[in-house]
Point group: none
Chain length 155, copies 2
DNA sequence: TATAATATGGTCAAGAAAAGTCAAAGTCAG
DNA sequence: CTGACTTTGACTTTTCTTGACCATATTATA
């Protein structure tokens, strides 16, 4: 029951996504906006509210001549421990906690040894050289960003 | 899906580069421009945005009669990976540059596809949510941290 | 040989063609 | 009537295209 433009555009994009069989759509923002008689930024709204990584989509775009917005569907395994972790993470995490977490993910075979080392090295406080309330927030975001990719198994 | 001339020319050059087997292509600027119905300086634009050293290419050229533009693909030296990269990038790295580098590292088999995706996702400006002089510095540090582990893992 | 003409490629800045951001205003269910 | 969601549009940023002018190498000519 789509009763507003956002829902209609959402449905439209999902239908195209289905039909194209390839889990991918590429659109031009202004063109789509014209097609649905709305302002271009409405497209951004639809995308940012309905095609987020948490919904299982990855969006790339390019500006300038020949620009585009590309939406890809990725399969998120809802059973993933990783996702659980991801959600329970909170917006701050200290070094010790992140190390323990990575250790565990490695032990349980969610990430490779090298990935674990890489992440641990990147999340050290010497690397994240900012002061403390911010540092832990940054670490949380980075970890979240890394885990998103782990949780989204594609190709 | 190339939507603009620059992309088309980029693809063309990369294909020639592939096919010629020798990691080298030599063109004449005005000739190529004519072939793609664009102004000559467009070729310079394509080269300066897509065939930089960060992307793994070296470009030489000569003016005057019998002039040419030669593009060579170069590989990173296993011994000096981190140093090479560090020297060429400095202590600040913007998102576009880091993406070029990661793509190259993947292409040259230094990192897996998943590692590349993970790092790209972590280094996005939305994730590194701090203001700009600092953000690029942080990105450089993080990339350096990742590279240390890559370099250490010399199989 | 010195000089002029010709043949290339290089630089840069203006403008166009996208997409992104953000906050104010509108809508609607509870 | 309040809070969450939606719509709009002014302004920003990024990327691409074009063209006028510049620099350099080779070739023809005095």
């Amino acid at each position: 029951m789509p009763n507003n433009i956002s829902d209609i555009i959402e449905q439209y994009l999902k239908r195209i996504l289905e039909e194209s069989g390839l889990d991918m759509v590429e659109i031009q923002r202004s063109e789509l906006a014209e097609q649905f008689h709305c302002v271009p930024s409405q497209i951004n709204y639809v995308i940012s509210t309905r095609f987020t990584i948490d919904h299982g989509y990855i969006v790339e775009s390019k500006r300038g001549g020949g620009g585009y917005i590309r939406i890809r569907r990725v399969k998120l395994d809802r059973e993933h421990l990783v996702l659980e972790v991801l959600r329970s993470l909170g917006d701050q995490i200290n070094q010790a906690t992140s190390e323990a977490l990575l250790e565990r993910l490695y032990r349980e075979n969610w990430i490779t040894r090298r990935e674990a080392q890489m992440l641990q090295n990147m999340l050290r406080r010497e690397v994240l050289a900012v002061d403390l309330p911010l540092r832990d927030q940054l670490r949380a975001k980075l970890l979240y960003g890394a885990l998103q990719v782990i949780a989204a198994h594609r190709d």
